[in-house]
């Protein structure tokens, strides 16, 4: 929230003493408001006023770091409610939940799954970042489980309202673990535990009003390293709370709610994986910062991680790859040439499939404006002239003795024109979906 020059001016002694290097207090204040000169340059503004100012100039939503080392992630720091207004900066994290009440076999199975659902999508690794461990009864087992989570390189979320248990667990959890956490009954003790361990403290309350009061009192205790639980009792309440909390922070200038959120879909829809997927998707769009699920199999991971990768892109910067001829599976100068567009998603999907086919091939990518195959075609950026010129200008005919040029199936209509423009090439229409490429290339080879 921008602070105005006049607000700063009110805090100066208005003596125009020039010690700050400016002719008047007003001139100083105007400059300070733009951030061009630090407030500290005026020795007469009280510490208290500086604190108020730094609060007023702080971004609407705090940026909170969780985890440490390679596992460290950043939450919050958002300045808009909708990605089209600017961009969303810090993607949500996904969590699964374990407990000391589970058998060792169940815990091992859960860890095996965490290790398995770990894959590359468009150059980014996809995996569950946070593991919540809910305290049931056995403190020693609980602490050991938290340690196992930290050792596995995951961010532990210690779920207990018992400050002593939290203290024992956080000691083995590594810096910036999450303690979930504080309630109205244990706030002071939890703040002490979190402070001492440099942990992020999760705050829960029965209503949004009570949550606001509790956050205020925790801030008064001197702790601002927080995440807020949007509620576990009803879907309606959790959703409206998530939206209202974020709206208050971004639009309402309510710094008390300027913290990332936590959503327990496993509590909102226990035992119902499909419902948890639906809720995770909803909260991915509407302000869930850490989204907890019972478990994360591929049926949940594939759509949710993909969706997250979409939503947290910068709308001003389309994801593109460099237009050029790419090589796959070590081509030897006699292999076919496939054509696609420079839209990163199209490229990565196609590249993955050519890799998988193990068939040596070239992939020619003209400048198609960074659009998908059909979008680029509809926009006139992926027509027969664009492709023919690219093939000629890049002397693709010198790279390979094969004269097979494979078009994406979705632009089969280009075949005739292209064949005329590139008479020495045999223009072949490929499949419409990239996943059919391996079979197609093997058949082509035969």
């Amino acid at each position: 929230m921008a602070v105005k020059g006049l607000d700063i001016f009110k805090l100066t002694p208005k003596s125009n003493c020039k010690e700050c290097g400016f002719p008047t207090c007003m001139a100083f204040s105007m400059k300070a408001a733009t951030g061009a000169v630090p407030i500290e340059k005026c020795p007469y503004i009280s510490e208290e006023s500086k604190a108020i100012l730094s609060e007023a100039t702080a971004p609407p939503m705090k940026t909170i770091k969780v985890g440490n080392g390679d596992a460290e992630r950043t939450l919050g720091g958002e300045t808009v409610l909708f990605r089209h207004e600017k961009t969303l900066v810090n993607k949500n994290l996904f969590a699964v939940e374990l407990s000391d009440a589970q058998s060792d076999a169940d815990v091992d199975a859960a860890f095996a799954k965490l290790a398995k659902v770990n894959y590359d999508r468009i150059g980014e690794m996809m995996f569950v970042e946070v593991v919540a461990v809910r305290f049931a009864a056995d403190q020693a087992k609980f602490v050991a489980l938290v340690k196992k989570v930290a050792d596995a390189g995951k961010i532990p979320m210690i779920v207990t309202t018992d400050a002593e248990v939290a203290k024992a667990a956080v000691a083995v959890a590594g810096a910036k673990a999450i303690i979930m956490g504080a309630t109205k009954d244990n706030a002071a003790a939890m703040v002490d535990v979190a402070k001492a361990a440099d942990a992020v403290l999760g705050v829960s309350a029965d209503s949004i009003e009570a949550l606001h009061d509790l956050v205020e009192s925790i801030e008064k205790l001197g702790y601002k390293n927080l995440v807020l639980n949007v509620g576990e009792t009803s879907i309606k309440e959790a959703f409206t709370n998530a939206v209202d909390i974020r709206t208050a922070a971004i639009k309402g200038d309510d710094r008390t709610f300027g913290y990332p959120s936590v959503v327990f879909t496993n509590k909102l829809a226990p035992g119902d994986t499909n419902m948890q997927i639906a809720l995770a998707s909803a909260f991915l769009l509407r302000y869930g910062s850490i989204i907890v699920m019972e478990e994360m199999d591929f049926n949940a991971a594939l759509p949710l991680f993909g969706l997250r990768q979409n939503i947290f892109t910068d709308p001003q910067k389309p994801m593109r790859v460099e237009p050029k001829v790419y090589e796959f599976n070590k081509p030897t100068g006699k292999d076919p040439v496939l054509v696609t567009v420079d839209f990163a998603l199209s490229y990565f999907v196609v590249a993955g499939e050519i890799d998988r086919s193990k068939v040596p091939a070239y992939l020619a990518i003209p400048d198609a404006g960074g659009y998908s195959v059909l979008t680029a075609w509809a926009a006139g950026k992926f027509g027969s002239n664009v492709i023919a010129n690219f093939i000629k200008e890049n002397n693709v005919a010198d790279l390979t003795t094969s004269r097979k040029l494979v078009l994406p199936g979705k632009v089969a209509v280009l075949q005739g024109d292209l064949a005329e423009l590139l008479p020495e090439w045999e223009v072949v229409v490929g499949p419409t979906e990239a996943m059919q490429i391996p079979k197609f290339l093997k058949d082509l080879q035969a």
């Binding site: 089209h84 009061d213 879907i235 997927i277 769009l285 949710l304 969706l307 939503i311």
Partner: protein, 311 residues
């Protein structure tokens, strides 16, 4: 300071569109806030898709429906029963001139049989060939006069025929399809209203994409359309939104790879459902007033999510 809610004040309202006739009729739209934040109790409707070309669908659907899939009327009945859906969408994919090129008469007969078999509103989709769809949906509109069906969808190249027949001559509802772009959506709504179709007879199909496949454009398009309708009171963008996520969701590799092709990924059916649910949920949260899915489990889940969100 005690918490004070930051109200997002809107002066616009999304229109109400009634679909279906008699006992089967339902209303969609009518909200005055962003989705699920108001108390006026508007309810997102959930539709189930069926097709006259079931051979194109993944094997799991044969297991769900068995022989019913071969007869569109039986298929529709089973789909509604198994899913509890609020309405049904029938895809007349066989009409495609570049495919089976089934005749308009045959396809209209299919649409009529489906309509007679169920007591929920019916949405009728063509084959996505603009020229053929114009003829087909015009004939459907005529045959099903009085049934208040939705013609899914009119595009820039055929809106005149479909709008005139559907929205005007035979009193049906017209869906206006655009490609994930607020300006195109607005333009087609304006063209249809200028033609004489009443705004309350129009729903918007603003396009979709599977989760992970360009969905950011869908999310932002929906956000912008809703903010324009509610915040700026732009009456050319206040029609309810109807979205079919079934083709996109079941068309990506996550749903199409068999268990043999991707053994590490687990059940193909569960993956398809996961893809469909995540995509549908994101559309519902973005503002779709009527969402269409393919798997009965997807429909059940989205229905209960909507119920949960309304509380």
């Amino acid at each position: 300071m005690p918490y004070k809610k930051t109200e997002q004040k809107f002066n616009g309202k999304i229109g109400v569109c009634e679909i279906g006739a008699g006992d089967a009729a339902i209303s969609i739209g009518g909200e005055k806030t962003l989705p699920f934040l108001g108390g006026e109790g508007f309810k997102t409707a959930v539709g189930i898709a069926i097709t006259d070309s079931p051979e194109d669908w993944e094997g799991c659907f044969a297991a769900v429906y068995g022989d019913d899939m071969k007869d569109p009327a039986a298929f529709a009945k089973a789909a509604v029963e198994k899913s509890g859906a609020d309405f049904v969408l029938v895809k007349l994919a066989s009409a495609d001139p570049n495919g089976a090129d089934n005749s308009v008469e045959n396809c209209v007969a299919t649409a009529a049989a489906v309509e007679a078999a169920v007591n929920v509103p019916v949405v009728i989709e063509g084959c996505k060939n603009a020229e053929k769809d114009a003829k087909l949906l015009e004939a459907v509109a005529k045959t099903l006069e009085g049934k208040n069906v939705v013609l899914f969808s009119a595009v820039e190249d055929n809106y005149k025929t479909i709008g005139a027949a559907g929205g005007m001559a035979y009193g049906q509802k017209v869906s206006a399809e655009s490609a994930v772009d607020i300006n195109l959506a607005k333009q087609l709504n304006i063209l249809l209203t200028q033609l004489g179709v009443k705004p309350q007879d129009i729903v918007m199909d603003v396009g979709s994409a599977a989760a992970g496949y360009g969905f950011e454009y869908v999310a932002s398009t929906m956000d912008r359309i809703r903010l324009a309708g509610l915040g700026q009171n732009d009456d050319s963008l206040q029609m309810p939104i109807m979205t079919d996520v079934s083709n996109d969701s079941w068309g990506v590799k996550e749903a199409v790879f068999t268990e043999a092709e991707a053994p590490e990924w687990g059940s193909q059916e569960n993956r398809g459902i996961g893809m469909e649910i995540a995509t549908a949920s994101a559309c519902v949260i973005g503002g779709s007033n009527a969402i269409i899915v393919r798997h009965p489990e997807s429909a059940k889940t989205i229905k209960s999510m909507v119920a949960g969100l309304l509380g």
